[in-house]
Symmetry: C2
Subunit: 447 residues, 2 copies
């Protein structure tokens, strides 16, 4: 069973609320929006991602016979409710920021307009899909900016939180500018270019490091990247130099070496010198091992001769910020704007739009969040992407999304692109929206 | 397609190494071990979890026709390699700590003994399965200890890193003593008890909070848990008191209320007083909203009248420690022990066993890690669980695992159970193992 498309990847309260709505005949149109409530101090911007998987989920969402049987046998729901679920389809409208768009706290990235039960039931899966890829794309973009033009690769699968996380991390990081991933499945699924070298076990399993290197080169003559640090990095580099002529005779070129431990600045310099002295100026150095944007920035600032960065665990878990305060909130029901006023978690009511304003150099100056009906100057970021449960337009390819993300990153000021703590873009809440909140609050006081 | 069982949920280098091994005829027996390299300062112990999913994966691992086609068409592998993959099965032996066992850094929790290519190919998926559930079970156990006997529920699905993470977090937290989860799919998959209340949207969609409460009670008469903080928590509690007699007439009892924001100690006290004054002494209070073990400990220490804790995002992402330094390393090949010596990442060579020593009160005193062949006093923690690719014994049920975990938590000293930073158990590396490492190093110097 493919849990990625299962409608039971949801919170139990979605089902109990649904039965409540249906018993009361509450099937009027609702507007929900997905947004991130706060910007963590460690971030200055987010990259919207996950929409493609969300659209696919919504187009196909239904209860399978097994799932209906589980609901019926759980003893918690009425027969008519189960019959409703059997017919359940998503037939709503979506407005969304295109994947790859830069955004900030309090800006809706997806707006769902649908009959209340439909808009409600999809909440949990919608958040898992948008939250995780947005989290990873935002982290990956920082790595790309830190690498200052050098390629970055995703090595994070093994410590990602499960198979779906690993697969989507490969997509989200590629979308944000990574050159590729080590995750094999990301190529058949998303055409993400796949990269790989060798592990320490390959070296250990051989009687000597030089045998391991030669056998690997024989088996993968077009992709000879050798791991140097199993025993002693510098000896490993010398072994590579010693081996190169023999491989050259067989027509094999060593493409690169990988460093995975120790002081990478120091190791890269020493290895570079050994390789250059041995006539291997073209052999590239890949650095890996607990890298993140800070470590990359450090290597770049120190001018370490690293050609390619591989980022693993800290990318796929977004280790410094392992979650965003990403929510999906009811903003309007049956034409009536609404907001929640829980202490510290207030939201702005109504269906909204985000307008972006640029300076003369094309850099983002500020954003304005206002009601969808309040047409303003600036670039509107939310666009129709789904109409009555069907895609409004052909979805962009992953490479098109990636190009869009690169254009978007270029609209950030140099200060934000340097990923300095506290550097971000001001988001204004329009006067009209503030007025609406007051009206809604006054009504709820009385009501 | 079910990605959970896909053999391509792996790193590309597993395939390139495999082709290298096969071309050299390197199919002798290898021993790999999975362990956590270091204990994070925020943790004092781990709970082993994920073995059931690993065994299921290994029993069924094979390349599907689509996957073989991808490998063949990638242009990177030989025809004979693709034919080998077509026949690929896992036929190795496993020793493992039973799920629910308490363990510490440097202690293998799974030992794989198999022909080198088989033991190698499974590395990535083995780590994703053992790492994530161990991470979550270890975090969940801290929440259980902090709750001091009160039930704790998993609400983490929406911000978990994908569908598999959410599903496995429900299992791992239940295994570690949680009372259940809001994740629906965890019940059909793992028989984890499912819990749920209502969301803010349910209240907002109604004209008034009291209508929302009454409609919810009508729809779910056996599970009336009402969310109080959508507008004003204390008014919400008064509304519950006002509604109770009318529901009683219909034969409906209000089971509980939920608080999700604000100062939970203060809110719980005020709400408790309002409920008690209204004759609703039996209505339970659930607290949620950014909880983790520290917040629970705070609520318990303040004697806040909370009956049930719901822990979400910070559990499912293990937010303070979003990954463990969990690895899978070659320890022996063709009868020859081996170790990697990378700076700061050295491992101990050879197939190993862990022996546990208890004090007179049954509390863990210390553990000893030694060679598997070096039989010692103490309780051996690694047991045979798979023999030539088949389970050695019927796997325990999730409830049996949970009972084992509760027994294991009771073997921790009071200091460790209080989850104070720095409190952990000493793990000794045996003299025999240190000697072996010296022998291996001397051989590798010469080799």
């Amino acid at each position: 069973m493919d849990i990625r498309s299962s409608v039971l990847v949801t919170d139990f309260y979605q089902l109990t609320m649904l039965q409540g709505y249906l018993e009361q005949g509450m099937e009027e149109t609702a507007v929900f929006e997905c947004f991130v409530r706060t910007m963590p101090p460690e971030r200055g911007f987010f990259i919207a991602a996950g929409l493609a998987q969300l659209l696919e989920f919504l187009e196909n969402v239904r209860f399978t016979p097994d799932e209906l049987e589980w609901v019926a046998n759980s003893g918690r729901f009425s027969r008519s409710f189960v019959e409703y679920l059997e017919r359940f389809r998503f037939a709503g409208d979506l407005h969304a920021m295109p994947e790859g768009t830069v955004f900030f706290a309090n800006e809706p990235i997806v707006r769902v307009t649908a009959p209340l039960p439909q808009a409600q039931l999809i909440e949990t899966r919608l958040i898992t899909l948008l939250h995780y890829q947005t989290l990873i794309a935002s982290k990956a973009a920082r790595c790309v900016l830190a690498a200052a033009g050098k390629p970055v690769i995703d090595f994070g699968l093994r410590r990602s939180h499960g198979a779906e996380a690993g697969l989507l991390a490969a997509r989200a990081s590629y979308l944000a500018g990574f050159a590729g991933s080590a995750t094999v499945l990301a190529e058949p699924f998303f055409e993400v270019p796949v990269f790989g070298t060798m592990g320490h076990s390959f070296v250990q399993a051989h009687r000597a490091e030089r045998h391991a290197f030669e056998h690997f080169a024989d088996a993968q003559p077009d992709n000879v990247v050798l791991l140097l640090d199993t025993y002693d990095t510098q000896k490993g580099a010398q072994t590579v130099v010693g081996l190169a002529p023999r491989l050259r005779e067989k027509g094999i070129t060593i493409k690169g070496v990988r460093l995975d431990s120790g002081d990478l600045v120091d190791q890269a310099r020493r290895v570079r010198r050994i390789l250059d002295d041995g006539g291997l100026e073209d052999v590239q150095i890949t650095a890996s091992g607990n890298l993140d944007e800070d470590a990359i920035q450090h290597l770049v600032a120190a001018q370490a001769p690293v050609d390619l960065f591989a980022v693993g665990t800290r990318l796929a878990t977004s280790a410094d910020v392992p979650y965003l305060d990403c929510v999906y909130k009811l903003q309007e029901y049956s034409g009536k704007p609404s907001r929640k006023k829980s202490e510290g978690k207030e939201t702005w009511p109504g269906a909204k739009q985000v307008y972006r304003h640029y300076d003369q150099r094309g850099r983002i100056e500020h954003d304005v969040v206002t009601m969808a009906a309040d047409t303003q100057e600036g670039k509107a970021l939310l666009r129709p992407v789904m109409d009555s449960g069907k895609r409004s337009e052909k979805s962009p390819s992953l490479n098109q999304i990636r190009e869009h993300a690169m254009v978007e990153l270029a609209t950030l000021s140099d200060e934000i692109r340097r990923c300095r703590q506290g550097a971000t873009i001001p988001v204004q809440i329009s006067f009209a929206l503030r007025d609406l909140a007051r009206v809604v609050d006054a009504r709820d006081e009385v009501g």
